[in-house]
Amino acid sequence: MTSELVTIIEQDGKAQKGKDPALPAAELQRLYRLMVTTRVMDDRGLAMQRQGRIGFYLQSTGQEGSHLGAAYALKASDWLFPAYRQPGILLLRGIDPEQIVSEWIGNDGDTSKGRQMPVHYSFRQANFVSISSPIGTQLSQAAGAGMAARIRGDDTVFMTFCGDGGTSSNDFHCGLNFAAVYKAPVVFVVENNGWAISVPCSKQTASESMAIKAQAYGMPGVRVDGNDVLAVYRVCKEAVERARRGDGPTLVESVTYRMASHSSSDDAARYRDAKEYEAWKKKDPIARFQLYLQQKKLWTEQFETEVVEGAKAAIQDAVKKAEARSNPAVGTLFDDVYMNLTPQLKEQKAELLDLVQKGGVGADIGAFPL
């Protein structure tokens, strides 16, 4: 059954009978802290963009439970092929927030050396594959990585994300098809947040759900309440185990909501009804999980304060350190096109360095703002 929506945490914060994954108290609190820290970080990111301290930002507000619940089902050795709206996973995998903020700035502490716009992270240390802007391309790559692991006999599992818009991409089609044909150990998580910038899900596809698309590829499809971190965790855990057993891929549709505008360049008020937002606000995944913790007596005001203040302090510290860093060196412009500089790149590099030394080059970029 693909259209049923799997839920665990009820309105009152109680878990549905027999469905509570019963995680240890410390783990539950850790998950909560990650969700809160993700939101704090996101708020800070947007603020910095508004202050002109970074050029762009994109929030995940409302989707913290979805991506954290999903990735929490993995082992650290498992790989992620993310989209751009799963920043909490970086925190889950222990990335230093300074490195995250450095990516926003594109400074010399950025693992990507300032090559991409903010929030397009790459963290090899966390098996977190470089995020691409083109929608969907990670899906077929995840399939291929899964095929490779199977060929090599590794038990690595691959989790990849896309949005509702991403289901229309070429790579959704071939990625799911390849994964199913080769029984690749991949979990495809579609975070259906209702919108692809200004295009509502109803104009994205006429199918009755995203999960049902799994049938086209002969793999199981599951719909889960994406604002219920435990439900997402439980569904993904099963999918991860299935993959690890060698039984192939699963499509998970995580039904959630993009509570913010698409990005700092967008204003959702221009195309979206405020009422829709209000309705979803009541289902905020953080509030919902808080209720669950309350029920379990794992939440107090004091805990809350500690979590929020701790998060703020950590991000503040990261911003401070990251902002003290410098731009990547000019010469790095030519690195990493290939493993080694070609003769052509050497010549172009020498020419540029020469001009830079003479002064003035690159100065007029500000003349044509958008």
């Binding site: 050029g55 762009f56 700035i105 594109g106 400074n107 300032g114 090559r115 991409q116 716009m117 397009h120 691409s132 802007s133 083109p134 929608i135 818009g165 991403g166 229309s168 991409s169 070429n170 692809a196 910038i197 200004s198 295009v199 104009k203 994205q204 596809t205 360049s265 967008d266 221009r270 195309y271 731009n327 990547p328 000019v330 790095t332 412009l333 030519f334 096109v337 070609t342 052509q344 790149l345 172009q348 540029l352 001009l355 830079v356 003035g360 080059v361 690159g362 100065a363 007029d364 970029i365 500000g366 003349a367 044509f368 703002p369 958008l370």
Partner: protein, 338 residues
């Protein structure tokens, strides 16, 4: 003040001062009023009016049948556009950023470009593919690319790039009326930079004709899009140093106005080719090759290219990647002293 800008906001009668972006909207509005076969579609072009606002107001005026949002599939956008054109419409497909056109590459180069030829002229594909392109807005790796050379190397496509508001309108209207598929690439860096007088209503700038953006005697700069403005600034500087620079704004890359190029180079004896795309195999290589083939005997120095580097597009170091006034000046000098 360069020839392509108007400092005052007042326009002559029959004209209106507009940004390049507004001129593009105006062109679509004009043609949608003129011809009910014209439809506009793409991601976010409806209620939102496009991520840059190029389609603002069109859905309101023409309804959801003639200006509509699509699913997130460039392949579908162009494939459906080809089908519409085959059936007799005049589709205008917006690709949100040129960097995202590649999922549709097959439909463009294998289908739109070749339909007329492979069917012996039985089926044709009069459609316009509009897309913002180029750097200068801090868009980083995937919101900055200049991919025009791919399309220029594909027989069956026309490739048009305006550099002023008036040309943007006139060339877009000509593109919509053209009987063949046109890649209409919009230099997003100058979407809102500088304004210019644009004729109201009917205004057609024919495809295949370049323009002399600035007259000069000593050296010719060949350029298009946002680079025209960089080159105009560089020309001012060079003038101070005693070099008289002629600037040819190509407007249409395919079919190229060879005559205007060759005449200018023959006159000045020197040529600098300026483009933002990666240097190797960029459109500027074609211009250099043309000169090397057809008027080498008139040259008094090497044909110099000032271009993007042969790297993907960077984010932080973008100001160093883009050809700027200093680099254009250095290019000019190389045609004199090498």
């Amino acid at each position: 003040m360069t020839a392509t800008e108007t400092k005052t906001q007042e326009a002559r009668p029959g004209f209106k001062v507009m940004t390049l972006l507004e001129a593009i909207t105006d062109a679509m509005r004009t043609e949608m009023r003129n011809d009910d076969r014209v439809v506009v579609f793409g991601e976010d072009v409806g209620k939102k009016g496009g991520v840059f606002g190029a389609t603002l107001g069109l859905q309101d005026e023409f309804g959801e049948q003639r200006c509509f949002d699509t699913p997130l599939s460039e392949c579908g956008i162009i494939g459906a556009g080809v089908g519409m054109a085959l059936y007799g419409m005049r589709p205008i497909a917006e690709i949100q950023f040129l960097d995202f056109i590649y999922p549709a590459f097959d439909q463009i180069v294998s289908e739109a470009a070749k339909m007329r030829y492979r069917s012996g002229g039985e089926y044709t594909c009069p459609m316009v593919i509009r897309s913002p392109y180029g750097g200068g807005i801090r868009g980083g790796h995937y919101h900055s690319q200049s991919a025009e050379a791919y399309f220029c190397h594909t027989p069956g496509l026309k490739v048009v790039i305006p550099s002023t508001p008036a040309d943007a309108k006139g060339l877009l209207i000509a593109s919509i009326r053209d009987e063949d598929p046109v890649m209409f690439l919009e230099p997003k860096r100058i979407y809102r930079h500088g304004k210019g007088e644009v004729p109201l209503g009917e205004h057609v700038v024919p495809l295949g004709k370049g323009r002399i953006a600035r007259e000069g005697k000593d050296v010719t700069i060949l350029c298009y899009g946002a680079m025209v403005h960089v080159c105009e600034q560089a020309a001012e500087e060079a003038e101070k140093a005693g070099r008289s620079v002629e600037i040819v704004d190509l407007r249409t890359l395919v079919p190229l106005d060879e005559q205007i190029v060759l005449e200018s180079v023959k006159k000045t004896g020197r040529a600098v080719v300026v483009y933002e795309a990666p240097k190797t195999c960029g459109y500027g290589a074609e211009l250099s090759a043309l000169i090397a083939e057809k008027c080498i005997e008139h040259l008094e120095g090497p044909v110099v290219r000032v271009a993007g580097f042969d790297t993907p597009f960077p984010y932080t170091l973008e100001p160093l990647y883009m050809p700027d006034v200093k680099r254009v000046l250095a290019g000019i000098e190389k045609t004199f002293v090498w």
